[in-house]
């Protein structure tokens, strides 16, 4: 019984999930029932910010995008770690400060490496 009581704490979460699912599906269902349907060729085209679509949507991307994506992930994570440290800086003190400096220096080495290897230039 104790096990069941533990699970009961999560009943509100389950209710919320069901409500969220029901709201999404319900909105789609009601919309499809009441809205007017007048399709024509231009309306069925893929939306590309108002321009007529050019070419197929599935083609190969330059490998350079992946390098940019990797760099983004690395420095994005750095920011994620820096933020909570900055917020609680006065409680953590010198020890955390030195650790953070080491962390930033390590990433700086990576930054210098990427820069010298021309990872930031497109051509």
């Amino acid at each position: 019984m104790e096990q069941l009581g533990y699970l009961q704490q999560y009943v509100p979460v389950l209710v919320l999930m069901l409500v969220a699912l029901g709201f999404g599906l319900g909105a789609l269902l009601v919309g499809s029932l009441v809205r007017p349907k007048r399709p024509y060729a231009e309306k069925l085209m893929p939306y590309e910010s108002g321009n007529p679509p050019v070419g197929e949507p599935r083609y190969r991307f330059s490998v350079k995008f992946y390098i940019i994506a990797m760099l983004f992930v690395i420095f994005d994570v750095e920011a994620v770690f820096l933020y909570p440290w900055a917020v609680t800086f006065d409680k953590l003190g010198l020890y955390a400060f030195v650790e953070m400096i080491i962390f930033i220096v390590i990433l700086l080495v990576g930054y210098v490496y990427a820069w010298r290897k021309d990872a930031f230039t497109w051509d």
Partner: protein, 477 residues
């Protein structure tokens, strides 16, 4: 924070190596002559090797353990790092992959292994394992123009990611059961609460055995080994057939014999199956190989099976014989790979068994050393390989596994066929075309060093086994 200085002192070897690794990465940007980076890396490894001993204690709340066990494995990792770099010096220009990142990745992989061997917490085990694995994945695919090398890296990465997932699942189950990820804490909890026979714990054990079995390339988790060993650059193959394997055994020693020590009967059976399968599959499949790198890959699977005997036997004697064997294996296996590497010259692959036909006529000293390494891998006295197996088998017999030892001896006899076939090709066949050999002083130094080590340990074996035994003092088994 209790005395940061003393804790950093315990982590000294890893910190120094990390500083050098970053130095190598940065220096690579301004320096044209890449061999400077190689010598810098070797200097760092040698410096650490001579200054690391004597550290004892726990750091950062039990996350990191500096003890004889970890230091002994550090010695194995640094030795294999130095030897592999020496072998690479002339090989990289031949393959047109003479980039400075190579040495940086080697150093980072070694740091990962050292963290694994000294980990006091399952999270640290995972961190070290990932640092090692990610570096070695890149190294396996370092010949980026070669499809074989790319295939090797991709296969290793895919299967390695799977193994990491198993390990993480095992760690999370352990945490769920015991409420701690500290290795000694897990053992204490299992003992205090009598978790033996718990089905979840048994499942966790299987996950650990699968994850570590992958890293040591034990059957049935060996599928990646032949393809990866064949495709990777030869010095990298030498490095990863020794370093990550030894690191895997180091973690098995910590996680299975310490953390899951109170339920040792549950994993011993699994390891016995792994050991028998590894010895049988490795040795029997090696017979049909004609590519020497592939043959040595199957042989390394078989050697993982032998070394598992030490873990199965357990206790200080079993573990010491396992550690001793891994050290000996480092010398003889890197030695054999050095010969394979030296045969790779401009325009000649030198990987096929037929390239060894009549090698003794043109290169008598090289052939004599290859003979020594092949004898040692078979386990013929007076070489180191014989003494390594001797201590393993004695430990297994003393622990009551006579039948398992009989199987191991029979498998060693089978292995003689394919090891001695190389010798037969070198000495009893007429040379076809003359195979040139790399003019590499560094490669020769590595060859001489491994050759002398294999002979010396074979004649005077007590030194290292005593070292391994005293390293286990205070290990907690």
């Amino acid at each position: 924070m209790p005395d940061i200085g003393a804790q950093l002192w315990l982590l000294g070897p890893e910190i120094v190596l990390a500083v050098f690794a970053f130095g190598v990465i940065l220096l690579d940007l301004v320096i044209k002559e890449k061999s400077v980076l190689a010598y810098l890396s070797i200097a760092a490894a040698l410096f650490i090797m001579f200054t690391m001993f004597g550290r004892q204690g726990t750091a950062f709340g039990g996350m990191f353990l500096a003890d004889g066990y970890g230091l002994f494995f550090n010695f194995i990792f640094l030795t294999s790092l130095c030897l592999s770099i020496l072998v690479s010096l002339k090989y990289l220009p031949v393959e047109r992959i003479n980039f400075g990142e190579y040495y940086g990745l080697m150093l980072f992989a070694t740091i990962g292994m050292m963290v694994m061997a000294s980990a006091g917490d399952l999270i640290m085990v995972y961190l070290g394992l990932e640092l090692m694995s990610l570096s070695v994945y890149v190294l396996a695919g370092f010949m980026r123009q070669s499809t074989r090398s790319n295939e090797a890296a991709l296969k290793y990465f895919m299967l390695g990611a799977f193994a990491s997932a198993f390990l993480l699942l095992g760690i999370s189950f352990t945490y769920g059961l015991t409420g701690t990820t500290q290795i000694s804490g897990v053992a204490q909890y299992i003992k205090d609460n009598g978790l033996a026979g718990n089905p979840v714990l048994a499942f966790t054990t299987i996950l650990y055995v699968a994850a570590f079995g992958f890293k040591i390339a034990a059957v049935p988790f060996h599928m990646w080994a032949p393809d990866v060993y064949e495709g990777a650059p030869t010095p990298v193959t030498a490095f990863m057939s020794v370093g990550p394997k030894a690191a895997g055994f180091a973690v098995i020693g910590r996680v299975l014999t310490v953390a899951l020590g109170p339920v040792s009967s549950e994993w011993t059976g699994l390891l016995i199956v792994l050991s028998i399968l590894s010895m049988a599959v490795g040795n029997i499949l090696a017979i049909s190989q004609t590519n020497i790198k592939r043959m040595l890959a199957y042989s390394s699977i078989a050697h993982a099976g032998y070394a598992l005997l030490g873990v199965i036997a357990g206790g200080p004697e079993g573990l010491a014989s396992m550690m001793n064997y891994l050290l000996i294996y480092t010398f003889m296996n890197i030695g054999a790979f050095t010969v394979v590497t030296l045969l790779r010259t401009e325009g000649v692959k030198g990987e096929d068994l037929s390239d060894y036909e009549g090698l003794s006529k043109n290169h008598p000293l090289l052939s004599a050393l290859m003979l020594l390494f092949m004898f040692s891998l078979t386990g013929i006295p007076p070489t180191a390989g014989f003494m390594g197996k001797f201590y393993l088998f004695v430990a297994a017999i003393n622990a009551g596994y006579l039948w398992l030892t009989v199987i191991a001896v029979i498998m060693s006899a089978i292995s003689a066929y394919f090891y001695l076939r190389v010798v037969m090709y070198m000495y009893m066949k007429e040379p076809g075309t003359v195979i040139p050999v790399q003019r590499s002083t560094a490669g020769r130094v590595a060859l001489m060093f491994t050759g002398i080590a294999v002979l010396l340990i074979g004649v005077q074996p007590t030194g290292f086994i005593q070292m391994a035994r005293s390293a286990l003092a205070g290990f907690g088994i």
